[in-house]
């Protein structure tokens, strides 16, 4: 078991979250298409990896990340390729025969992908539908997990315009409808950007209202203690109950990532300074060092900077600056800022984005927003606000 702070965690390194897995399987087994909603670094992808590696009998999971894709056809092409090269599908003689029969332009399906009789086959969406329908003929359930789907949508909107974005959403909806009869294929959409917010701005909520939501919550206290013990298996030091609590109190928003990051920083200090034990001072230093890991925090700012322009960005920045300075911001203050930036009609959407994306919450009191994570607050205050 290793402490991983970069790519999604998988295999033995994954910390199993029983309750979450149960919830997910409930939705899958009820035949829903699912939208996983969770801010960045909460562990969505790791969880999808877990599903992929631990399928229940009769299920096959496909994971595809399409964050670099910026047009619809490419999206479906990638999906087709992924599906047909998947071991389970590619090896099913039944499916391959079905595909060849129904899509004459396909010459060969192999581990390298599809070979066509004529180059540059155009309509991959149609092909995808046919392939998915073929699954019907097999007694396997296919779960297609599409990671960073909202990013793909944004790419399309940026490069080809809003109408293409809407078209993309409609196409996906159509596919889900076309294969409804099969009951053998389900989609899981995931992404760290709030899909619902983008869709609502496009006035296209209808295109996703068939999706069931799976929320990935932060760890609860029991899980957290187990999780720390799980991580400590890979370190040379131990932590007393008191020190663990001290860390948790500082983190507050108990997503696995922050806990991994702190333990990893502690490990660095322990290694570099040849220490014998960890103390409160060392933990404090680990938090400071952690904030200096620019690669883990700067995206919190960058994505706001790239997703929002002009007065929207200024509004968001001022809201977050205020919260980072005063710990809270009240709805009346937010309203006042909305007037300042002439955003009275739209600011609620912006606020929702901030909530969905994991910046702020108003869980304790609907009229008061605070940072989800004191760590993020500290970082924002030190590196953005001032």
């Amino acid at each position: 078991m290793k402490i991983i702070t970069g790519p999604p965690v998988a295999g033995d390194n994954y910390f199993f979250r029983k309750k979450l897995a149960e919830e997910a399987w409930n939705l899958i087994e009820s035949g829903c298409h699912i939208l996983i909603t969770a801010p960045r670094r909460v562990g969505k992808t790791s969880f999808m990896y877990y599903l992929k590696d631990h399928p229940k009998k009769g299920y096959c999971f496909i994971y595809l990340n399409t964050e670099s894709v910026n047009n619809e056809n490419e999206f479906f092409r990638r999906l087709v390729n992924k599906i047909v090269t998947t071991e389970h599908i590619g090896n099913s003689q039944k499916i391959v025969t079905f595909i060849k029969k129904n899509i004459p332009s396909i010459k060969r399906v192999g581990p390298d992908g599809i070979e066509f009789t004529k180059p540059d086959e155009k309509n991959f969406k149609e092909m995808l539908v046919k392939i998915l329908q073929s699954i019907q003929s097999d007694n396997i359930k296919l779960i297609v997990m599409l990671d960073e789907f909202p990013q793909t949508l944004i790419n399309i909107i940026e490069d080809e315009g809003e109408s293409q974005g809407k078209h993309f959403l409609r196409s996906n909806r159509e596919i889900r409808q076309d294969i409804e009869s099969s009951k053998n294929v389900q989609f899981i959409y995931a992404g760290s950007i709030g899909l619902e917010n983008i869709v609502s701005r496009l006035n296209a909520v209808a295109t996703i209202n068939d999706l069931a939501r799976l929320i990935i919550p932060p760890l609860i206290i029991n899980e957290v203690n187990d999780f720390i013990d799980f991580l400590l298996k890979n370190t040379k030091f131990t932590l007393s109950h008191k020190l663990k609590n001290y860390i948790l109190k500082k983190i507050e928003w108990l997503i696995p990532f922050y806990i991994q990051l702190v333990i990893s920083e502690l490990n660095n200090i322990y290694r570099d300074e040849d220490l014998n034990e960890i103390s409160v001072d060392i933990i404090d230093r680990a938090f400071v060092d952690m904030l200096e890991q620019r690669n883990h925090f700067e995206h919190w700012h960058t994505r706001l900077r790239t997703s929002f322009k002009g007065k929207e960005y200024s509004f968001i920045k001022e809201v977050l600056n205020t919260v980072s300075d005063n710990n809270i911001i009240k709805t009346n203050e937010i309203n006042d800022l909305a007037v300042k930036y002439d955003l009275v009609e739209f600011y609620r959407d912006l606020l929702k984005t901030l909530t969905y994306d994991g910046y702020l919450n108003n869980n304790d009191n609907p009229k008061i927003y605070r940072f989800n994570s004191p760590i993020l607050k500290m970082w924002w205050k030190n590196y953005v606000a001032n």
């Binding site: 670099s68 660095n268 620019r294 900077r305």
Partner: protein
């Protein structure tokens, strides 16, 4: 033992595997950690990628290579892993597909991967070329059951160039692929401008290489000692923890800087380590210039001031030197600190100090950008020498350097800069002077311009100082004196002395006291003189003279004798100290003790003895006093004349002329006396200095019945002698009533008594000086 040449330390790629492994003695913990991660990773799923980050010279490339070699050496591991190292700066890798192409090219060296690039080429016109390349690579890895570890030095340079699509693609690859793993290294100094918000960065674990800690520094130095066969290093490392720690702080614990300084120090004869330093400086110049260019003008100004200063500075000083408001400077400092350009050194007060965080950047700045006057380009070397050597060792090293220059063959720039550095340390003035004069002879014919970077020697500075203060240019003298780096007793004493001359006595006192604290007996004497002559605090003067005497200052013996003589009138004590001064060879004391015997003890024998001794020791003025004593005390007119004549011949002044002509009168040599007397009687200065004595001379002339000669003098004198010395004139008229019967009567009533007294005196003189 493996002996490696120094240049390789700076380019680890030039070392053989064995050499690199041999020198790899620090950074072992992080090496082990990353290697073990690689070793025990199954790579079934995407694994942790790394970027090893640190400022230049921290050993990033060496660490990359060390991990690379360890994989190569591990037979079991190298069966499933293929480590590939990109040993050039990745200039040609601008797109993600370049990375896959280059990787494929390197893989093709293995038979099982033959034809990879050919396959890729076929796909070149496809819109998703990059993806196809990657798929080709991935498929062929899977087919061969191999996993790839890419070691990419300067990875930041590559990542920075990726366009938006490639950025997202790289993230996809990192999320999905378990076929490859990236271990990169990146220099943090160029990175402050990087956008870490890019989506792939969070997939890397950034391992920061910090400066070496104390133990690691020790290990490194021991290794260097072993490599260069310097046995002393071991003892030094073991017995001088303070020096190791100081060296660590000086270099920021940066490996390359430590090695460089060490090598420059031990390279006593040729200077090739210094050539390497200059090469490295040239190599980093574009990078560092770029770094400066990236800063805003006020930030550039701040960095310049701090870099030139070398030592950490307070915000207040920085603001003052950059002429910024403190608030503005503080805000800029904050930004610079965030960008890792400068670092804060906390103090016990609220006022923090700031210095350039990368010490090597500072070295570069001094050596390459420090064009201003008075910038010490080798400040870092001075500090190193001071840390590394005791005073005694510095002296020895300086002599060795002198020796190397005399032998010739030493790289001239090194010879010069090392001279400059060691001359700034606490070596003796004489050796320093010799070294500087020698280096001028050596470097002058090769590169005259280079001599501009050489400071004058302390002795040269002092001689300039002397010229300046002698010309009463005190401020300039003080400024010049500042060029001496050490506030040693000499510098303090001279500061005191210049203030003393300038009339700023309290400042003079301050500096003398400082100099005295470090045991300067001259200073003690001079403080005493301040109290004696300027503040008139005689007791204090006595106290400091005595201290000075105790510490062996002979001038103080004399001065205290003067104090007893003139101020306390304690003639016994005065005599005691004059005699001691005489014994210690202070010739001035001979004359003063003669005066003491003459005037205070009236012991004319002894007085004569000492006056003569004073003459012998070259103080010929004393003859005049001796002659005068003989006259005044009427001891011996022949001898008196002998002394007076000698005195006059030695030195013609109004004083000697007066004494001589007066004694000539005593000996009845009137013509000669008259002739010599012109020397003083026709000099207006005499009327200021000794008007009464002119009277005496004229009275004596009258007593010798030389009335007409006296009248002649009255008449001839251009300074209205008649009016100035009316009583003497009337006394003369009294004696000349036969010739001028009316003249005497013209005398006013008010002069009568005075004239009568003079007449009486003339009659007495007639008897005394027959």
């Amino acid at each position: 033992m493996l002996q490696i040449s120094h240049i390789q330390v700076y380019n680890p790629f030039n070392m053989t595997q064995e050499e690199l492994i041999n020198i790899f003695v620090v950074r072992t913990a992080i090496f082990k950690e990353i290697f073990e991660d690689i070793k025990f990773s199954e790579m079934k799923h995407p694994e942790q990628h790394y970027i090893i980050q640190g400022i230049r010279g921290q050993g990033k490339t060496t660490l990359l290579l060390r991990i690379y070699y360890e994989i190569v050496r591990d037979i079991k591991l190298s069966k499933k892993l293929i480590p590939i190292i990109f040993n050039e700066e990745p200039y040609n890798i601008r797109k993600l597909y370049n990375l896959w192409e280059t990787t494929a090219g390197l893989l093709e060296e293995r038979n099982e991967f033959a034809g990879l690039t050919g396959k890729m080429e076929k796909e070149f016109n496809k819109t998703d070329y990059e993806m196809r390349c990657f798929e080709i690579l991935e498929t062929s890895l899977k087919k061969n059951h191999k996993k790839l570890i890419l070691f990419i030095d300067n990875i930041g340079m590559f990542l920075e160039k990726l366009d938006k699509k490639d950025q997202h693609r790289l993230r996809e690859v990192l999320i999905e692929s378990s076929e490859l793993r990236i271990i990169g290294a990146s220099s943090s100094i160029v990175e402050f401008s990087y956008d870490y918000g890019k989506p792939f960065f969070e997939f890397f674990k950034i391992s920061k290489l910090k400066g070496l800690n104390f133990e690691e520094t020790k290990v490194l130095l021991l290794k260097l000692g072993e490599m260069y066969n310097k046995k002393k290093i071991k003892a030094l490392v073991e017995n001088n923890p303070g020096r190791i720690e100081a060296l660590r702080r000086l270099t920021g614990g940066v490996i390359r800087t430590i090695v460089l300084l060490f090598e420059i120090f031990i390279d006593e004869e040729i200077g090739s380590a210094f050539i390497d330093l200059e090469k490295i400086l040239d190599n980093v110049t574009p990078l560092y210039k770029h770094r400066m260019d990236d800063l805003s003008p006020p930030q550039q100004q701040i960095v310049d001031v701090i870099a030139i200063n070398w030592d950490a500075m307070s915000t207040k000083d920085i603001a003052k030197k950059t002429r910024m408001q403190s608030k503005v400077a503080a805000a800029q400092l904050n930004q610079l600190q965030r960008n890792n350009i400068i670092e804060k050194q906390a103090t016990s007060t609220k006022n923090n100090f700031y210095r350039i965080s990368e010490r090597f950047f500072n070295i570069w700045y001094l050596m390459r950008q420090g064009r201003r006057k008075d910038v010490n380009k080798v400040r870092f070397l001075v500090e190193f020498l001071e840390i590394w050597c005791s005073k005694d060792e510095l002296q020895k090293r300086a002599l060795k350097h002198l020796d190397a220059i005399e032998k010739g063959g030493i790289y001239h720039r090194y010879a010069l800069y090392f001279t400059e550095a060691i001359s700034k340390t606490d070596i003796s003035y004489e050796i320093q002077d010799k070294l500087i004069k020698k280096i001028r002879e050596y470097v002058g014919p090769i590169d005259k311009g280079l001599l501009r970077d050489l400071s004058p020697s302390n002795l040269e500075i002092l001689s300039n100082v002397e010229i300046l203060f002698k010309n009463k240019k005190y401020e300039s003298a003080l400024k010049e004196l500042q060029k001496i780096r050490y506030n040693d007793t000499i510098k303090l004493f001279f500061s005191g002395y210049i203030y003393h001359l300038k009339g700023d006595f309290s400042k003079a006192e301050e500096y003398y006291l400082k100099a005295a604290e470090s045991g300067d007996s001259f200073a003690l004497n001079n403080i005493a003189m301040l109290y004696h002559y300027e503040f008139k605090e005689f007791r204090k003067a006595e106290e400091y003279y005595l201290k000075s005497v105790e510490s062996g200052d002979t001038d103080a013996l004399f001065n205290i004798a003067v104090l007893y003589h003139k101020e306390f009138k304690d003639f016994k004590k005065s005599e005691e100290y004059y005699l001691k001064a005489v014994e210690s060879g202070v010739t001035q004391a001979l004359f003063n003790i003669a005066l003491l015997y003459h005037y205070e003890f009236k012991d004319f024998k002894k007085a004569e003895e000492y006056y003569l001794k004073a003459v012998e020791s070259g103080y010929t003025k004393s003859l005049n006093n001796l002659a005068w004593m003989f006259f005044k005390e009427k001891i011996d007119k022949i001898k008196a004349l002998e002394y007076a004549e000698k005195s006059f011949k030695e030195e013609k002044t109004i004083f000697t002329a007066y004494t001589y002509s007066t004694i000539l009168l005593w000996n009845n040599e009137f013509e000669k006396a008259y002739k010599i007397s012109k020397e003083f009687i026709e000099n207006p200065e005499s009327f200021e200095k000794f008007p009464k004595d002119i009277t005496l001379f004229l009275m004596l002339l009258i007593s010798k019945k030389q009335y007409h000669l006296t009248l002649k003098i009255f008449n001839e004198n251009p300074y209205d002698l008649m009016n100035r010395l009316k009583p003497v004139y009337y006394a003369l008229m009294y004696f000349m009533q036969d010739d001028y019967p009316n003249e005497y009567r013209k005398m006013g009533e008010e002069l009568k008594q005075t004239v009568e007294e003079i007449i009486e005196e003339i009659l007495r003189l007639e008897k005394d000086y027959e």
